[in-house]
């Protein structure tokens, strides 16, 4: 355990060594933004839209009291989406999609000696392969989460529009309510997302980069990457909530 943590820290240190050629690292960074972020956008938008829609229906169906105004539905959806669904649940989904992708990519490179080839050439393989992934995820995941927020709200709004479960104006009022606090919630969500982005990419990279064995181990590394990333997301989620919200 301690040895694994040590290797993880050494890996992180190696990322910050001076790059051999900045222009090549920049190209890798742009590629990773596309790979990790933009290629995940569709699933994130789809899930967020439907989740927003479902949240509206569920909330509206349990609030039956005439004393509770309709805009409460919009308010509840906003709170759920901003505080938990967008940063945490979407990050868990990204851990599954992106984490397994990273671990299997690096694991395959290890098995087929591509990482050794980089090392023999004199390239800092950690910096070249993992550095751009971590930096790209720190940059693009918060943007992806902002898309998630927008499409979550939009999904809820479309349900209101088509089913008239509550008036759209009331839903929008709920979304906009206590607007002075919204900025703080968004900031909280983005801080959480940045931490989760780091955890997903660095943990998954660790399992792929230090893989030993063959094709079977690549599969195992992918599974471990997803499981460990998810567990650490949940732990970090609790710690960050305690630190920031209370």
């Amino acid at each position: 355990m301690i040895q694994a943590f040590g290797k993880y820290m050494v890996m992180l240190y190696s990322i910050f060594l001076k790059p051999e050629k900045f222009s090549i690292y920049w190209k890798r960074f742009v590629d990773e933004i596309i790979q990790l972020g933009l290629k995940s956008l569709f699933i994130v938008i789809l899930m967020s839209g439907f989740m927003g829609a479902v949240l509206v229906i569920q909330t509206a169906s349990v609030i039956e009291s005439a004393w509770i105004p309709d805009y409460t539905v919009g308010f509840t959806v906003k709170q759920s989406m901003l505080l938990e669904f967008c940063p945490t649940i979407i990050s868990l989904i990204l851990a599954g999609k992106v984490g397994s992708n990273i671990a299997s990519e690096l694991g395959t490179m290890r098995v087929t000696e591509q990482i050794d080839a980089l090392e023999v050439m004199g390239v800092n393989s950690v910096g070249y392969l993992i550095g751009p992934k971590i930096i790209a995820s720190l940059f693009i995941f918060p943007i992806v989460i902002m898309y998630s927020m927008f499409f979550g709200f939009l999904g809820g709004g479309l349900v209101c529009f088509f089913t008239e479960i509550i008036p759209v104006e009331q839903y929008v009022e709920g979304i906009r309510s206590f607007s002075e606090e919204n900025f703080g919630y968004v900031r909280y969500a983005l801080i959480k997302t940045s931490v989760f982005a780091f955890l997903i990419t660095s943990i998954s990279s660790y399992f792929g980069y230090f893989l030993k064995g063959g094709a079977l181990e690549v599969g195992k590394a992918s599974t471990k990457a997803v499981v460990y990333s998810s567990v650490f997301i949940l732990i970090a989620n609790y710690i960050l909530t305690q630190l920031i919200l209370i």
Partner: protein
């Protein structure tokens, strides 16, 4: 010239290399031969700096690998080309990008100069009009040739080839062996080939070291190897009935 002096290496309690010494000569194809698990690849990985030996010295001409600072070691690695057993071409890059990779990473050549160098290297290994293909679209023999092109792209002084003809048919294997020998003579490199293929040994073995259970048991050339008296090497060479009958 690469000189290894008294190299030992262990993993956990298992000693893989035991006091190995040898001189790999410049302008010659130097072979490390031995059975699977004899320590050939570990020795090579020690020589290219992927593993640290427990004892001993590795001298690249007059530079002692263990005494080099990280920056000097990085510089030395740029003088090394390596052909891996599974070619180790980067899957996500095309043939052209694979060969251009070390040039782009370590030189300030213009795009035109890089293209010229890449095409020269690919032509040298007879890969024509395949620049835009990806490694998965090439045959095993072609992948090896592209890997050789990438290995020589930076005009290395030292070329390491880890079982260059494993997984290839005998004809392609000989083509790859001959290509390595030609390139070695052409660029006056110190080439080290790891193999357990006797065809390669008899084709290109100018300076051979036989390793058995981590020990250097014999050194010589292809002209001497068939008359060898060392039991382990004799058993290694004459393992097939065909060769046993040939000897009789």
């Amino acid at each position: 010239m690469i000189t290894v002096k008294h190299i030992s290496k262990s993993f956990s309690d298992v000693q893989i290399l035991k006091d190995i010494s040898f001189v790999f000569e410049t302008g010659k194809t130097n072979l490390i031969i031995g059975k699977s698990g004899s320590g050939k690849s570990v020795l090579t990985k020690c020589m290219v700096g992927l593993y640290e030996p427990d004892h001993g010295d590795i001298l690249f001409d007059d530079r002692n690998l263990s005494e080099l600072k990280p920056k000097e070691r990085k510089q030395l690695r740029r003088e090394i080309g390596m052909l891996f057993q599974a070619s180790a071409l980067f899957d996500s890059l095309s043939v052209e990008e694979n060969v251009a990779f070390p040039i782009k990473m370590f030189t300030k050549m213009s795009k035109e100069e890089i293209d010229e160098r890449v095409n020269f290297c690919l032509n040298r290994v007879d890969i024509i009009n395949k620049n835009q293909l990806y490694p998965s679209e090439l045959s095993g023999g072609m992948q090896k040739r592209v890997a050789i092109a990438r290995a020589i792209a930076m005009q290395p002084k030292y070329l390491f080839c880890d079982e260059p003809n494993s997984g290839l048919d005998p004809v392609t294997a000989i083509v790859i062996d001959e290509l390595i020998q030609e390139i070695t003579e052409e660029y006056n490199m110190t080439t080290i080939v790891i193999t357990h293929d006797m065809n390669s040994v008899l084709e290109i073995g100018e300076n051979i070291m036989f390793i058995d259970q981590g020990e250097n048991k014999w050194t010589g050339s292809k002209n001497e190897i068939l008359d060898v008296k060392v039991k382990e090497l004799h058993d290694f060479i004459y393992v097939s009935k065909f060769l046993q009958q040939m000897k009789k």
